[in-house]
Symmetry: C2
Subunit: 230 residues, 2 copies
DNA sequence: ATAGTATTAAGAATCGATTTTGTAAATACA
DNA sequence: TGTATTTACAAAATCGATTCTTAATACTAT
């Protein structure tokens, strides 16, 4: 089982935020970072001990994550990390292509100069950040890159004026992120950089359909990559 | 303010379900039924008293509804019913058209004979149920019809094999339902029955594109209807 | 008067304890 | 020996009390 990393995290209230919020965020990022095995139980009392927090707080955090789909709630049987299946991954990708393509279209239509600049800025940052690092003879994705990668994709659609669509995109990104960790170890075998560059260029030239086309290919390749290595 | 309706509801555990689940359901249906004014505060302790239940249970229910978007959570300021705006309604409809159209396409592609039969059955039920009733000189939508109407639309997409899309559709339906109650009193001024019939026919003849077209028109009319009467 | 500082009270958030539920081991029974 | 029925225990769910926040009011010093 995958336990908390010792003393690293100590929940506390900073600013006007609540303990529940902090624990939710920390728990979510731990799950997305692959700290907990898919399907493994998330025992409320254990987590509460780990976070030095009452059970109510953990319960609230888990309830939130369960509603978002990262955690499974089974009445009278508590919570567990969501499990993975090829079938579900396909569903996630399908939903993502649908919603994120549309958000991208709308973003390109509505984006102003500030947005353009932000896209350029975050793409530059992404292009200058190393994706992998070697940890005992294995290449793993760097957390910093992972963050910037998310920011990049988020910025592309940030000018979409529909908050509902953006909410869906965010949720789907999280689910995809989870799969990135648990789908049959993927190898660094393609040039994501070129794709990100092409995507940025298409977006900046306001060519919606071309941008969507590249985006779809980008996502599809990511999926293929996840499955190919079994 | 809109208080609980007296003794009508008493939360209890039946079967293997939990108190939290029951309260969540009851609270959600109350909100969708227009029991609580948009934007009005949902005081945890008050609700707990009303449901004869501890604050923890209510808090969990509200947290769930907040994650779904029916309730707003403001750290250290508790919960309130979501507010409404024409802008947001448009966003909801846009998201709904996108996702429900696709779900409908997929459902038509994948549906089997049992599904066809279910569509016919629920359409028949819908067609035989009265939509409005008069309550002191005002026509209001009957709750029974409202239920069947939801079942009807749900059944149309039920054969869609993508649970993520179906989840989105469900959430969007709830948001739409909320607006149905709070958008500038709508009048019974169009023939929904004919549209439902046409939609059913298109679906049963497996004509995806035609079905989607009718569906889009159906939704669009509903929206226009909500806005026209101001 | 006015800006800044205590006072207070309502409600939110959190806590630790209690009750309920589900499971598995132990015992009784056919 | 195999099937029911207790018992015991761990974890989930729920509870009621305590602590913390916020915002409104009263108070003080310029």
């Amino acid at each position: 089982m995958c336990l908390k990393d010792g003393v690293s995290f100590m929940a506390k209230r900073n600013g006007s935020s609540t303990l529940s919020e902090n624990v939710t965020k920390k728990l979510q990022s731990d799950i997305l970072a692959g700290q907990y095995e898919p399907g493994s139980p998330l025992t409320v009392s254990e987590l509460a001990k780990g976070f030095v927090v009452s059970v109510a707080v953990v319960r609230e955090a888990l309830t939130r994550l369960a509603t978002q789909g990262l955690v499974l709630q089974n009445p009278n049987h508590g919570f567990s990390v969501k499990s993975v299946s090829e079938e579900e991954l396909n569903s996630i990708i399908e939903a993502r292509l649908l919603n994120e393509s549309e958000a991208l279209r709308l973003s390109i239509t509505h984006g102003d100069l500030t947005w353009e600049s932000n896209v350029i800025a975050v793409h530059h940052k992404l292009s200058q950040t190393a994706e992998y690092e070697e940890v005992n003879q294995k290449l793993i994705v760097r957390e910093e890159w992972s963050d910037i990668h998310r920011q990049f994709h988020y910025e592309l659609i940030a000018a979409c004026p529909n908050p509902i669509l953006l909410g869906f995109c965010g949720r789907l990104w999280n689910l995809s992120e989870f799969y990135r960790h648990w789908s049959f170890q993927h190898q660094p075998n393609r040039d994501g950089r070129a794709e990100h560059k092409a995507l940025t260029d298409a977006v900046l030239s306001r060519d919606s359909e071309h941008a969507v086309e590249i985006f779809r290919a980008h996502i599809q390749l990511t999926v293929d990559n996840l499955f190919d290595q079994r």
